[in-house]
Amino acid sequence: MRWALALLLALAAGAGSLYWVTAGFTALTAEDARRQAVASDPRPLPDARVLRPDGATVSLLEDLRADGRVAIVNFFYSRCESLCLAQGSQTGRLQQAIGERGLASRVRLLSISFDPRDRAHELAGYARRMDARPDVWQFLSFADPGERDRLLGIFGIVVVPAPLGQFEHNAAFHVVTPDGRLARIVDLDDPGEALRVAETLAAGAGR
């Protein structure tokens, strides 16, 4: 009898731990957990000073507010030879879709570099390589490492230095509203969903 009770207790404690570790049996990876947490509870973003390709330094929250469009944000570094190229081509497809569906007045794309080596010159060069339309797809870089780390922390982006001056980082489409809230994170393989979410949010905001 005591044995059965102990067995039940062990099962409850062990299964409870597993439940907690997997965020209620829903997420095996931190990336899944991050996406679910944001979907159920959108996060306000802290401000950070950012560099533009024209050399100006502006406040990110101010930029989001002034622009007024819903932004689909992703993170990159211009020297990337792997993931960012795939991410860049997916974002390119998004740019095309935004143009074709006449959404440029409501949705824009924002690629932010986390690499301190990326200054105005590198951003401008990267924008050219990506065939970015300046009114639809903008590029930024961080002005201050402390502010960068804080913002990346809220986004849940982890950048790991890799050999040969490369970085490995988690990538996704982050839908951010003009009031500076991270509303949803969508997989890189599903740009259509990112656009749909952004469109819905823009419509909800009355634009």
């Binding site: 102990a6 062990a10 731990s17 095996l28 790991v160 490995e168």
Partner: protein
């Protein structure tokens, strides 16, 4: 003899725990050392602590075995204990646990406190279990480790945000090696009872 065993095991437990904590930065810099070195160190610290406690307790002569039989009936054949340890083991096969242990103090506490406790329970339960129960839980743990290892080897995407892709594949290799080595070592050490069981 028993006093010496107690002291030796207690020092081993402290040394293992200290190694896992003092070198936590280099040990958690790689997924492979985090999962295959630091976590086993913490579990082994618990195992040694239980052995030290056991040796210390046996040093004091006891009139009756009342305490022992009560403990026995709570953890008969070690099955509740081994079930708990298996589930804790499963927790640490989840990539999110490794990621969160680096940034969330609660997961870090679950690692640093929970794993020695699991090691303690593991050792105490193994004392009470028989060969069949041991084989069941060892087999269960090893196939779980091997499957996790295969997944880590083959995943084209990173499962941990904090670790590199190559490192993940190495962790997979290590988990598979562990899943082969553990039963092989156990079989070598315990060939007698297994042989008797098979020929009973």
């Amino acid at each position: 003899m028993s006093a010496r065993a107690c002291l030796a095991n207690a020092s081993a437990a402290l040394a293992l725990c200290a190694a896992a904590l003092v070198w936590r930065a280099p040990l958690t810099a790689l997924m492979s050392t985090h999962m295959l070195v630091q976590i086993p160190l913490l579990v082994l610290a618990g195992v040694c602590a239980e052995q030290a406690w056991r040796a210390g307790r046996d040093r004091v002569p006891r009139g009756d075995s009342g305490g022992r039989s009560a403990a026995w009936s709570y953890n008969e054949y070690g099955m509740p204990g081994l079930l708990f340890v298996s589930l804790v083991g499963a927790c640490w096969m989840v990539p999110r646990a490794l990621d969160e242990a680096l940034i969330d103090w609660r997961m870090a506490a679950f690692k640093v406190l929970g794993l020695p406790v699991a090691g303690w329970i593991l050792r105490a339960s193994l004392r009470r279990s028989n060969t069949v129960v041991k084989l069941f839980f060892l087999g269960n743990f090893c196939w779980m480790g091997a499957i996790a290892g295969l997944i880590y080897q083959d995943q084209p995407v990173r499962l941990c945000n904090a670790y590199l892709q190559d490192d993940q594949a190495w962790t997979g290799n290590g988990l598979i090696a562990l899943s082969i080595a553990l039963p092989a070592l156990w079989l070598l050490a315990r060939i007698g009872p297994v042989w008797r069981y098979l020929n009973r």
